[in-house]
């Protein structure tokens, strides 16, 4: 049987367009120091470090895990780097958890980051393949046709994406770490923002952020002694699928559905909408909220947009989604998945401050990456599973 694993420390940096005050090592150190402080632990208490970030071509810093080893306190310890595109922050946390669950280590530090101000992700993602023609402009260029396909298939009203964009930015106003604090955000403001990749408007897309997130994970007996009660990991799941194959449903990918089924089975959940108190999911473009509601089994296929429209995903709804303001309010790509996982843990530890959901006992953290082809998710709870 796997060991039980608890999250005993959580730290994140202020997420911002440009953190010129810190280097990459300084950025990850800031998050790691905060996670250790939260855990009441020192560097000597850490047995291994697991770090994640998006492609090296973004910042042009090859093998950043070696460059960051000192700032992550890794010399003399196992150091492992994880890479699964945009979902990497989630899968990094899962790899770190598996080192505890497998009984290999007692306490593991896991960190994920991106310094987009020192990178050019749009360039990095606009692939000019040999003998081909670059036509897909960045992540938005890839996902916009999927959004259009979803709107057509589901018959969703045209303003669902705008509503998500407003909701998440209002939530971000309650989160001091969030990058975007748009105090006068409104339906009109989003609607009138320029179309970047029609049907995706500027304010329906995530910003480019610098930031890092860190967590300290510990074995059951050690987690029990943490100064703040831990978030217990009830289940984790990861799945992937190729970007392109005949018959692929890229709007509602099979890999995401499989991961969710596996996750709920492991957590003993039969009715996710009722049994999960809140969810922090990876929504880089507003329409992905309804799309992932369906993929995650919170809504029937074609009905995810109704949850948004009915207010079910608002802070006072029956399944609050993206309490922190989500990826739409801060997107340090490599850290974005871990920030989702960390928010889920903060909720069940009652550490979410103004965006705390009253009585959150079980929360879902979710990340996806690539061409909607990598999925990672976990369920954490205030009680042991």
């Amino acid at each position: 049987m796997a060991e039980l694993c608890g999250i005993v420390g959580i730290g994140q940096t202020k997420l911002a367009a440009k953190r010129v005050d810190v280097s990459m090592p300084g950025l990850v150190r800031e998050a790691a120091d905060r996670a250790l402080l939260d855990a009441g632990l020192g560097w000597a208490d850490i047995d291994a470090v697991v770090v994640g970030k998006a492609p090296d071509t973004f910042e042009g810093c090859m093998l950043p895990e070696l460059y960051l080893a000192d700032s992550l306190g890794a010399p003399g310890k196992p150091l492992l780097r994880v890479h699964t595109a945009g979902s990497v922050g989630g899968s990094t946390a899962i790899v770190a958890a598996s080192l505890i669950q497998a009984g290999i280590h007692d306490r593991v530090l896991t960190v994920a980051y991106e310094k987009q101000s020192e990178s050019n992700a749009m360039w990095g993602l606009t692939i000019s393949a040999p003998f081909g023609v670059a036509v897909v402009a960045g992540a938005g260029g890839f996902f916009a046709p999927l959004v259009r396909g979803y709107i057509r298939r589901s018959g969703a009203p045209a303003d669902v994406g705008i509503r998500v964009a407003v909701k998440d930015r209002l939530n971000a106003l309650k989160n001091p770490y969030a990058h975007l604090h748009l105090k006068d955000i409104s339906h009109e403001m989003v609607e009138q923002s320029p179309m970047l990749w029609d049907p995706i408007r500027l304010l329906e897309a995530c910003p480019s952020s610098d930031g890092a997130c860190a967590m300290v994970l510990a074995r059951e007996d050690l987690a029990q002694r943490a100064p703040t009660p831990p978030a217990w990991i009830h289940a984790t799941a990861m799945r992937s699928e190729p970007t392109m194959f005949a018959g692929r449903d890229a709007i509602n990918p099979e890999a995401g559905k499989m991961a969710a089924r596996d996750l709920y089975a492991k957590a003993g959940i039969t009715n996710p909408r009722r049994e999960i108190d809140c969810a922090e999911i990876y929504v880089p473009f507003s329409w992905f909220e309804p799309m992932w509601m369906e993929n995650l089994g919170f809504a029937e296929e074609g009905a995810g947009w109704r949850m948004t429209l009915e207010g079910a995903t608002a802070l006072d709804g029956d399944l609050p989604v993206n309490m922190s303001g989500g990826v739409l309010s801060s997107n340090p790509i490599g850290a974005s998945g871990m920030l989702r996982f960390a928010e889920a843990a903060m909720q069940v530890r009652k550490q979410a401050g103004e965006h705390q959901i009253e009585g959150a006992r079980r929360a879902l953290g979710h990340a996806y990456g690539g061409g909607s082809q990598y999925f990672s998710m976990w369920i954490v709870g205030s009680e042991k599973p």
Binding site: F131, A137, P145, R152, W197, A250
Partner: protein, 162 residues
Amino acid sequence: MVEPVKSIVTPIRLEYDYTPGRATSRFLRGIAQHRILGQECPSCLKVYVPARGSCPRCAVPTEREVDVQDSGTVVTFSIVRVPSENIHFELPYACASILLDGAGIPFFHVLQGLAPEEVRMGMRVKARWVPTEKLGPTIASIECFVPSGEPDAALETYGEHT
């Protein structure tokens, strides 16, 4: 007082030799001869274009070659209004996912010859090739797609490919 160095710009370059492999080489040679070659999966019978030599879904090699039409249907699209260094089309342009007639999988190309706001899902389109003397083993031999003038296709005929 000396200004502290906060960041420096260090451009990087990556050059590599690309080996397309057997299937893609045949596809690219076909393109140079004004032909679009696909490969049919012996298991699910879907036709892959460009041919990659295998079906990722069935995990089997695809060997049977079939000619695919240079006409097709716009499965979905986006109107791009953001500049990107690697992209050389004038903004805004329509980036369309196109299902060629006879193909089992769509691919992205640029749609021109109409105002971006007139692009529709289900629209019928045709390849516009570069002049014969400029044909080469590259997708760039197809300059773009343009409307063919046929009536739009019904959602049922392409919906599963969105």
